[in-house]
């Protein structure tokens, strides 16, 4: 029984010019489809990661899940009790005028949870590796990593079963990122949390996720277990992404540099959205949008051409 399901979820944004300009210049309304018919099921207790480059729609999916955006089409169902979100920027997501204990206590107050507030806040701060005395301080007194710990304590305050994390460590230095990732997996084990983890960093994803979905231009192009995806990537885009990761081991393996860039989402390519950059594209790819068969949406894989 999944904890969360998305069925055919799409989200359009109206990026038309103002009404008067449209009328005078005879321009039509323009819609940008940020998320395009996404199906997902997140199981209890797992970490599902969504990866992709900027503009692929991964953050929009996160915002759709927590209800910050309403879907333009499709259905999202949540079978748990409560969900919370952790944002990328720990500088922008904490109110600078509030003391940390008020920030952490806010969900408890809003949700009218019956509990000893001071004790619960102290317990939450300890849980994320801060000291109970830190509750008296203001956010500016903390470093980026500590602020992200405060965000996590606030998210845990409402006793959620699902945490949606949008690039939670992208703004942090790498040694601090390791601290936060370790903390997150510890909390998951201890509290039985389910994570939807949005990231552009494939190495981070390989460390935290049980399953990974790869997004390109608003669509999920490949979805599979972390082991399968990183050892036997199937979709040409997934292969390209993995190839582009700098090789820290300095094995000197030859890399096929991929040309081209993500196309303008206002004018997505016909057929398979990846075909202009794909070395395996043929006429069918240019014409017909591949359907999600098994773990991957790709004509070349389906026809066993690659």
């Amino acid at each position: 029984m999944p904890l969360l399901t998305l069925e055919g979820v799409s989200r359009d944004f109206d990026v038309s010019r103002p009404w008067l300009n449209r009328v005078i210049e005879g321009e039509p309304r323009r819609l940008l489809r940020a998320v395009d018919r996404v199906d997902l099921a997140v199981e209890q207790g797992e970490t599902l990661a969504l990866v992709g480059e900027s503009g692929c729609g991964k953050s929009t999916v996160a915002r759709l899940i927590v209800g910050l955006y309403a879907p333009s089409a499709g259905r999202i169902a949540f079978y748990g009790r409560r969900m919370q979100m952790i944002f990328q920027d720990p500088y922008a997501s904490l109110n600078p005028r509030w003391r940390v204990r008020d920030i952490v206590a806010e969900p408890i107050r809003v949700l009218n949870m019956k509990t000893d507030l001071a004790r619960r806040v102290a317990e939450l701060l300890v849980q994320v590796g801060l000291s109970p005395d830190d509750g008296d301080k203001y956010p500016h007194e903390f470093s980026g990593g500590q602020r992200q710990r405060i965000s996590i304590a606030r998210a845990l305050a409402g006793e959620p079963d699902l945490l949606v994390c949008d690039e939670p460590t992208s703004a942090l230095d790498v040694s601090v990122q390791a601290q936060i990732l370790n903390l997150m997996s510890e909390l998951q084990r201890r509290l039985g949390l389910t994570y939807v983890f949005i990231s552009h960093n494939l190495a981070v994803v390989s460390q935290v996720a049980d399953r990974v979905g790869v997004m390109y231009l608003g669509r999920i192009v490949e979805l599979g277990s972390t082991a399968a995806l990183f050892t036997r990537p199937q979709h040409p885009y997934t292969r390209m992404l993995l190839d582009a990761v700098p090789d820290l081991g300095m094995t000197g393996k030859p890399r096929t540099p991929v040309g081209g860039e993500v196309p303008n989402p206002l004018d997505p390519p016909s057929g398979c959205a990846f075909h202009p950059r794909c070395p395996h594209a043929n006429d069918r790819c240019r014409r017909e949008r591949p359907t999600f068969a098994g773990a991957v949406a790709c004509h070349a894989v389906e026809e066993r051409r690659i």
Partner: protein
């Protein structure tokens, strides 16, 4: 030697006294060599780059040491003189291409202006050179693109334009400060390949400043690891990555997530880098160091030979071994 930096010290006067942002920073870059400078935010890597090109924001100032370009001292040049050196001899690439490009001029106008300022070419010749430069950095349709404005380029293409500008006057040194940080991985790989090719073909020395060890591994010959305003370790990239000598580098390498199928706990360095006004006595890394001993608390280590490079760590002092 193209660039020699010796005992560089940068200070920022504040109401509570001088803050030392850089101390005893020394390194060299030779022709065709790429030196990676890596460190976490606040380690002083960008300040080092700015000090070399004479663009420290006042009240920051060079308080000691020397910077020499092709053997000529440049840290004490008058502003106007330094401006010429910067344009002609040193090319600069910053993280955000939009801050380096003027939004009100076409890419061609900016290239031609740079070229005619520094090289004895007519406008027509400069225009031809601009087209050749755009081709060299891999911009398709260079002739037509010359008349486009920066906003008409994508992020990756903009960074290519900035690189074209940086090499326009045929500099001997390029300083690239986080040139790929704002870009997606596939574009990042393209820009890395471009920088490497240009340095190899033109023999340009490159100082590549980044927080990303992966980028350094892909591009650099040697790497300097910075911590709290000083160089903690310097050496050939392969050796620093595979056999780091300074405990900070060891921790840093361990905390970088690698693509792997097994989930494992990342090695982490406890705590955070000290602020500049609270650098501990002795070795700046000692409060976080798993291997500290008595001497580390009292005496500050200078760079000393360690393996094929050098590390500022008492573990490598001859007396210790």
């Amino acid at each position: 030697m193209i660039l020699e930096v010796e005992d560089l010290r940068v200070e920022f006067p504040t109401r509570r006294g001088e803050l030392t942002a850089l101390d005893q920073v020394s390194f060299q870059i030779k022709e065709g060599e790429i030196l990676g400078v890596v460190g976490e935010s606040g380690a002083g890597k960008s300040i080092t780059g700015l000090a070399v090109i004479g663009l420290l924001e006042p009240p920051g100032r060079i308080a000691g040491g020397e910077v020499r370009l092709e053997g000529r001292r440049i840290d004490n040049l008058p502003r106007e003189e330094m401006r010429k050196v910067r344009g002609r001899k040193i090319g600069v690439v910053f993280q955000d291409p939009l801050t380096s490009l003027n939004p009100l001029y076409t890419v061609g106008q900016q290239l031609v202006e740079t070229i005619t300022t520094h090289l004895p070419l007519s406008r027509k010749e400069a225009r031809d050179k601009a087209i050749a430069l755009l081709k060299e950095v891999g911009i398709p349709g260079a002739e037509a693109r010359l008349d486009h404005y920066p906003h008409q380029f994508s992020g990756g293409m903009r960074q290519r334009v900035v690189i074209a500008l940086a090499i326009a006057a045929e500099p001997v040194l390029i300083i690239a400060d986080e040139p790929t940080t704002a870009l997606d991985v596939s574009i990042q790989a393209q820009i890395i390949a471009l920088l490497k090719r240009l340095s190899a073909e033109r023999g340009t020395a490159v100082m590549l400043i980044t927080h990303d060890m992966g980028v350094i591994a892909e591009t650099s010959h040697r790497v300097a690891v910075m911590y709290a305003g000083r160089i903690a370790e310097v050496g050939p990239v392969r050796d620093v990555i595979h056999a780091p000598r300074h405990p900070y580098t060891v921790g840093l390498m361990g905390s970088i997530p690698k693509i792997s199928v097994e989930r494992q706990r990342l090695a982490q360095i406890e705590g955070a880098m000290p602020r500049l006004n609270a650098i501990p006595p002795g070795c700046a890394f000692n409060p976080r160091c798993p291997k500290r001993f008595k001497r580390c608390l009292a005496e500050r280590p200078d760079l000393m030979p360690a393996g094929s490079g050098a590390a500022a760590c008492w573990l490598h002092a001859p007396a210790h071994a």
